[in-house]
Structures are given as C-alpha cells and as structure tokens.
Symmetry: C2
Subunit: 317 residues, 2 copies
C-alpha cells in the first residue's frame, strides 16, 4: 500500500493525518491541517453531541477539503457522536477503543471511510474482517490512552503491515520528518500525528499546557494507571500522587476515585498544570516551538525528503 | 555520521552489531556474526573472568575479523571482565549500565574502541563528554534490562542523534530490514541487534528457550520489576508471580527475594521455561525461524535495500 494510495483514498495531498485529540482538536486545528494538505480530525472525545455538530459545521464553513472525526467508543457520549457523524455524512471516521463491529457497516453504508485505531496485530486482523478501510497502528510512545500490551511503533507497525492487506497508518512517536520516514520504512502508508499538532498555534489546548510541554525534557512523560486503562501523561503533582498510590498497590477503585472526573479538561483545557491530567506523547521532549499547522506539514515533508535522500546505500563489495 | 563511517570505524562490512546478550552470545555466535560481515560481540554478563578469556581466545582462533565484548558495569564480576578485556586488547568494548567515566580512558589508552549503552539523551551527552567513541541508544522495546524512563527507539534515537556528534547505534525493536531502515532514518549510524541473533543456529541459548520464543505472539513480552531494574521477559509462571506481587505493591526486598539468583541462567541456558527468567525483546513476536547468522545478515541487507528503494516520494504538486 503506497503512500499515494492513502492520500488518494482520503483525497488529501500528503499522507499526514492529525490525531483527533481530546481538548486540542476542534474545528480550528482540523481546518488548518486540512487546508495545509493533510487530514484534519475533530476529536470527539471531549465534546457532547451539540458541540461536536457545531465544530463539524465550523470546519465545513472554513474549508471544503476532506476531514475526519474521532470517536472513542469507551466515551460515555460515543453513541450521540456517532449519530451526529452519520447525520453529517462525515468523510472519514476514526474509531478508537472498542469493537470495529459496532459501527463500521453503518458508516460505510452511509458513505464514510472508516479507520480503526489498534495497538496489536490481532486487533488489526479483527478490524480488517469487520470491513474497515484501514487501521491506525498506535505505539506505546503515543500520548493519552494506551493499551496494556505496550507494543512500540517500531515493533507494532511492521507486524500489523504483515498481517493485513488494508492500509496501515502509523501513530505514536512521530513529530518530525525522520520519524515519518521511519514509519514509512516500517510499512506504513500514512502517519497520524498527535503531539506535534497539539503544540501548534491552532490547537485549542490551554497556552499554559502548551508551554509546559515545550519545557518538558525527554523523560517527562510516563504511562501510568496500568491497573485501569494505561495513560501517558506529563509529570506533575497529580501524576506523582498516582505513582505513589500505584507503588503501594492501590486498588482499581482507589485509582478511579483519585482520577475522578474532568481532570484531562482541567489540565489541558483549563490550564491547571498540577492537579490536571496532562496527556501528551513521548515526543513532547523534542518539541520546543508552537508553529502553525502549515509550517509543521511543510517541515515534515521537507525533512522526510531529505531523510530518504540521505539513507546510506550500504556497501556492495 | 554516515553508516559507512561506523563500518569503517569498526573495520566491518555492514553497520550491523550483534548485541552482547547474557547466555546467548559466546564465541560461537560472535564469530559467526563477525565472519558474516557484522560485528560479533561476546556477552560478558553471564561469564566469570576465566570463561570470558576462554571465549575471547576461541573467537580469535575462529576468525581474525574485528569483534567486541559487552561488560555490564552493574554485574558483580565487571571488574574482572574489564581486566581481561584490557589484557586481551579487545578491539571494541561495549559498556552498559554504569558510569562512562569508569573505564573509557583506560580502554581508549589501551587501543580499544569504546561504545556505551544509553537510554536517554542526557546519558548520551555524559558519554560523549567522557570520551566514548559512540553510543548505543537502546529503546524500551529491547529485551532484558531496561531503564525506568521507557523511551522507545522511535523517540530515543532521533533525540540522541540531535544531542551528540559521535555515532549513534540504534538498539531495540530491530529484527528485519524495514526496522533497520527505520533506525537509519531516525539518525542512527548503525544498528545493534539482540533478539534476532539470540534466535539463530549459533546462539548458545537453550533450544527449548529458542523454541518458546519462536512460538511467542506479538504481545508475549512485558517489562516487569519496575521497582528494581526493569526487565523485559517472556510470559511464564515466574513472570506471572512477579506481576501478582507487583499488583499488590510488593516491596523491593520482596521482589529481590523472589528473583533470587540465577533465574536468567535457569531459563535461557538450562531451559526451565516456567521457573526461569526468559529475557527477550518485543520483536520475538515476529520471529519464527532459527537461521544462521550469515542468513540473518544477508536478509537484513536485502530487505534494507528493498525498503529504501520503495519509500514513497510524496507528491510534488
């Protein structure tokens, strides 16, 4: 599956997809990415149905380029979001965390392209059998919700590419053109980029959250909450409390009660950097500016080309 | 730092280095890799000084090609191994787990090339200041001992390459030519490969351990013992007991006492697949044969070239 094919399938210029992240990816971010030649994606995981519909409307008012939406099936409002996406006949639907059997047929019959997020090769095979158009293979280096299996992009993407014949989009650990070239070498037909787009001018994340991410060193994120649904987040007072609780063997219920409700919103959208949950990928450690989405895509493509041109031939003795 | 440069520096044909793994990498494995055009490495971490000297002698009797040795500084017998490596004027010395200041100058003054294993960009910078000739950047997907920071190869290699001017060798998650191409795209000048060489004809691991690794699925390994020194191992009865203990918050002392002495030997060398520790990388899930080292290198190079030739150009509209 060549990169041209996924770009053709989605109707975009570059095989670069923006991850539909909670609290970062509204109409503004998605429109900027789509207008720059990638696929912008509205992250439904932090919206109710009305707000979701509003953002889809705003995006359509801003550009006639293709776009996508992300619906995490574990999200309490997933069904409402799905109904909106069906009504709106959204061009591309990304489904994460849940069974591919639930909505694939309905969306496809409705004219949408359906992509499903997976974290193991077996999940990818299930998705292919369910009829999805492609899978997003997301490695352990990604931000936010992760799987218990902890397969990294380097290991996951190759194995998913070996097991399915539909296009594979690599996600997790991709912030520059070198990592994008690596993803294609591993067998990806496209890349999904979260953190790098979360840290742009057009991202709707709180400015203080963005600033904290720019200051973060290489080792500032860690996957915690492994007894529940593991989540990669930036170090802060709240994460430290979670880690202390985990070290003494805190139960699932205790961890759930510590987590409570609304901490991702508190951290990423309201800017409470110590009591909020700050979801971000490992690549935050290598990002130190807040460019526009158009600049991000321009850099990615230029670095990608330079990287490919400089790969050593190895000796032919 | 081009790949040709690291091959030139080490005097080898291909920039492919075999990881010096405990219980797998004696003279037989190292000689096979060196004779096939890579750099064979004797793993000192499972040997006393006499056995280490014996393996160096056997390797030299088998081939006059360059080779290396690995010395983990946390290993109780590290000092004895270092004295042997100094006496033997070993061409290349890999130091893992410990301060680069301890032996770098002595080995360099003695004529050896010194490479140090790192798991963060900051460690790489310390190594460069200590005068090492290059660093091995090892990601979280690798087998055996890992760091607490959990940086994956995709994220680690680029950042190490950005921070140091000495050559960077990528390790962790590299079992085929696609992953090797990915490593070079990320900025590596060479690759260090463990698991793929552990699962070869010439590896000294127990046949039952090798067979269990071939049967392993993509999600069969996990990093455990995070309160001590994290270690990636294959699922078995012993790992299950460790995970249960960790889930209830077992103390460091309790975990140390469960681990006891000699479990890696028991599992990987004596073939007790349930009570031993089975150290292996995430890539075990994609390996299903036991070729010779020469075949491994031939495949890696062929796949690497094919991968580089097939990278998409991206559109130039």
């Amino acid at each position: 599956m060549a990169a041209e094919t996924i770009a053709d399938l989605l109707g975009i210029r570059y095989p670069i997809i923006q991850g539909g992240m909670a609290w970062c990816s509204g109409a503004k971010l998605a429109a900027a990415v789509s207008m720059a030649g990638g696929l912008g994606v509205i992250g439904g995981g932090s919206m109710d149905s009305d707000l979701f519909a509003e953002h889809i409307g705003k995006l359509r008012a801003a550009t006639d380029k293709p776009f996508g939406v992300n619906i995490p099936l574990t999200f309490a409002q997933a069904q409402g979001l799905a109904e909106v996406a069906l009504d709106e006949k959204v061009p591309v639907v990304f489904i994460s965390a849940g069974s591919p059997a639930r909505y694939t047929t309905r969306f496809k019959d409705n004219g949408s392209i359906v992509l499903h997020v997976v974290s193991t090769p077996v999940q990818a095979q299930k998705c292919e059998r369910a009829g999805v158009d492609g899978v997003v293979a997301e490695g352990f280096e990604a931000g936010g919700h992760l799987s218990h299996e902890e397969l990294t992009s380097m290991v996951l993407v190759t194995q998913v590419a070996d097991r399915v014949s539909i296009p594979v989009i690599a996600a997790g650990g991709i912030a520059d053109g070198r990592q994008m070239a690596a993803a294609f070498a591993l067998g990806a037909a496209g890349v999904q980029i979260g953190t790098r787009f979360a840290l742009t001018k057009e991202s709707s994340a709180h400015p203080d959250f963005k600033r904290r991410c720019l200051e973060a060193g290489a080792t500032a994120t860690l996957a915690v909450l492994k007894k529940l649904s593991p989540m990669r987040m930036l170090e802060n007072s709240f994460r430290e409390k979670l880690q202390e609780a985990e070290a003494r063997g805190a139960s699932e219920n205790e961890l759930l009660s510590m987590l409570g409700e609304g901490r991702p919103r508190l951290g990423m959208f309201a800017g409470d950097l110590e009591q909020g949950v700050l979801e971000i990928g490992q690549v935050a450690g290598m990002i130190d500016d807040l460019p526009s989405c158009a600049e991000v895509i321009e850099r990615l493509v230029a670095e990608y080309r330079e990287t490919c041109a400089c790969l050593p031939a190895l000796s032919q003795q």
